[in-house]
């Protein structure tokens, strides 16, 4: 499978503090890759480096193109949808307005209309809540909205930052089911940052574990799941 996203020796930080000390990883076309690790390991920073939310050095390529010195807006236009920490919902706008912003860059009206229907098939609740203020949604509904909006961008790669955060286990289950379906049906590659290692390893085919800004372990998810030592020392279950 060809590589869609490749990071090599990426270093990044905020002011004086370095958060990443040379991270290398890759996501193949249509893959689901999990990025695991404790709080402060650099998971979120890795995603932010990809979409230009933090200054970085090293090399990041998407579909063969270097993302060096590109603005967030330009990276996103290449086909990367990033659902950030805290979901990035614009709570002052309605659900429908948020969804329309997902299709902001698209010019194919008919395609957008069809995608709306598809997205509502995945998340029927959003159809009911369409006219509501997005701030009035529950946490799970907001996460669905964030995912739905990202899908309307028709991305080749989806960056998800802790989609399970603050959600009830049952809601997390169904959300991850949908992520799997989206990946299978639409061929969208997913780079998934998660605290919940167990469920992330189930979903992904490959996983990286970060520890203080470095890749500590990597390998096929099935394998990491089985290795007692990895589980104990890095994944905490």
């Amino acid at each position: 499978m060809s590589t869609l996203l490749a990071l090599e020796g990426v270093r990044a930080g905020y002011g004086q503090t370095r958060a990443l000390h040379g991270v290398s990883m890759s996501v193949g076309e249509g893959d689901i890759v999990a990025l695991l690790g404790a709080n402060g390991a650099g998971k979120t920073t890795t995603l932010r480096a990809v979409t230009g939310g933090v200054r970085w050095e090293g090399s990041i390529h998407f579909a063969g193109r270097s993302l060096s010195r590109m603005s967030t807006e330009s990276v996103v236009r290449l086909g990367i949808a990033h659902v950030p920490e805290g979901r990035g919902i614009i709570t002052q706008l309605t659900v429908d307005e948020n969804l329309r912003l997902g299709a902001y860059l698209r010019r194919d009206r008919q395609g957008v209309r069809a995608d709306y229907e598809r997205v509502f098939d995945y998340f029927p609740i959003l159809r009911e809540r369409r006219e509501l203020s997005a701030g009035a949604l529950s946490g799970g509904e907001q996460q669905m909205l964030a995912l739905a909006r990202a899908l309307l961008m028709r991305p080749r790669l989806l960056l998800l930052d802790e989609p399970s955060l603050g959600l009830a286990p049952l809601v997390v289950r169904s959300l991850f089911e949908i992520i799997r379906t989206i990946n299978e049906k639409e061929g969208v590659a997913v780079l998934l940052v998660e605290q919940n290692a167990r469920i992330a390893l189930e979903l992904s085919s490959h996983a990286y574990v970060l520890e203080v800004g470095r890749v500590a372990v990597e390998g096929p998810s099935a394998q990491l799941k089985e290795e007692e030592s990895v589980r104990r020392s890095y994944l905490g279950y």
């Binding site: 939310g53 967030t72 236009r77 949808a81 990033h82 614009i90 706008l93 307005e97 902001y104 961008m153």
Partner: protein, 293 residues
């Protein structure tokens, strides 16, 4: 009663002028949490531009849209050249920058056009027409219609078009908007352009009655501040409502409260600002900010 109605109609006309300038203030406040103290001076410069066009023989109804386009471009340029370099600076810095901008534009206008008040043509006659027993001047009605058209256009642009939606998103949550591919910095520039154009309308509508000179908008902007604060500084609809209320109140106070008239009318505007800030700081339609301790 007739006299009262007349004062109300003329108050609504004045209110339309305040509302346009207040809306300009709100547009920029929403985009960057900043009161643009140069808004009035920008409107004044635009009005001089319109006058120059008209004096060169351009028809009023062509000069008006041309001026608005020029004001829009001017607003965008000011944002790109003056504001953008200090975009991330503390609010106080930005406030000083807009104050400096106000002084600069005021001086520039004085240098270019002089300080002698000039009459500004109005396309509407000063004759009156009787509506439901009250007399309203065509001048007032014209101002009301033009302001209403501009405000409705702004509403449609902001609420009903993709670009308006993107502008609102960028104003509310710049980081999340960037991740959706919205060029936030350009949305800010667009906001400045629109504010400048809307403000220009208020200047051009105010000029026939006030006479055009570099300091013309300095009282108008205080009424506009009152209107924006009354409406809730972040609500465009509130700004319009606030403008109308301030316009009518000031007019009625001038007519019926002994001693209030002429310069003292401005005191009414200050009284409104103080009353709102004391009694209902979020204004009529503001959401108010909730902060966690």
């Amino acid at each position: 009663m007739q006299d009262f109605l007349q004062q109300v109609v003329s108050g609504i006309a004045t209110g339309g002028i305040f509302a346009s300038l207040a809306l300009a203030l709100v547009l920029i406040y929403n985009a960057m949490g900043l009161v643009n103290f140069a808004q009035g001076e920008m409107a004044m410069l635009a009005t001089f531009t319109a006058l120059s066009l008209i004096q060169r023989g351009v028809d009023y109804w062509i000069a008006l849209p041309v001026t608005l386009v020029l004001a829009f471009v001017g607003g965008v340029v000011i944002q790109r050249v003056v504001i953008r370099p200090v975009e991330r600076a503390p609010v106080l810095t930005l406030v000083i920058v807009t104050l400096g901008l106000a002084t600069l534009i005021n001086g520039l206008a004085g240098f270019l056009f002089g300080y002698v008040p000039r009459s500004f043509p109005s396309p509407f006659s000063v004759q009156t027409v009787s509506i439901l027993g009250a007399f309203a001047s065509y001048q007032d009605l014209g101002v009301i219609v033009v302001s209403a058209i501009v405000l409705v256009l702004m509403y449609v642009l902001l609420q009903r078009t993709p670009i308006g939606l993107a502008m609102r998103a960028a104003a509310h949550q710049p980081e999340a908007s960037r991740l959706l591919g919205i060029r936030v910095s350009w949305m800010l520039a667009l906001g400045w352009g629109l504010a400048s154009a809307v403000g220009a309308v208020s200047g051009i509508m105010a000029a026939p009655a006030l006479l055009l000179e570099p300091n013309m908008m300095q009282t108008v902007i205080i009424y506009a501040f009152a209107a924006a604060v009354l409406g809730g500084i972040e609500s465009p609809l509130g700004a319009v409502l606030g403008g109308l209320i301030v316009g009518v109140t000031v007019n009625l106070a001038g007519a019926y409260v002994p001693g209030v008239g002429g310069d003292l009318q401005l005191a009414v505007a200050f009284a409104i600002i103080i009353a709102v800030l004391v009694l209902k700081p979020n204004g009529l339609m503001g959401r108010g900010s909730v902060r966690r301790a």
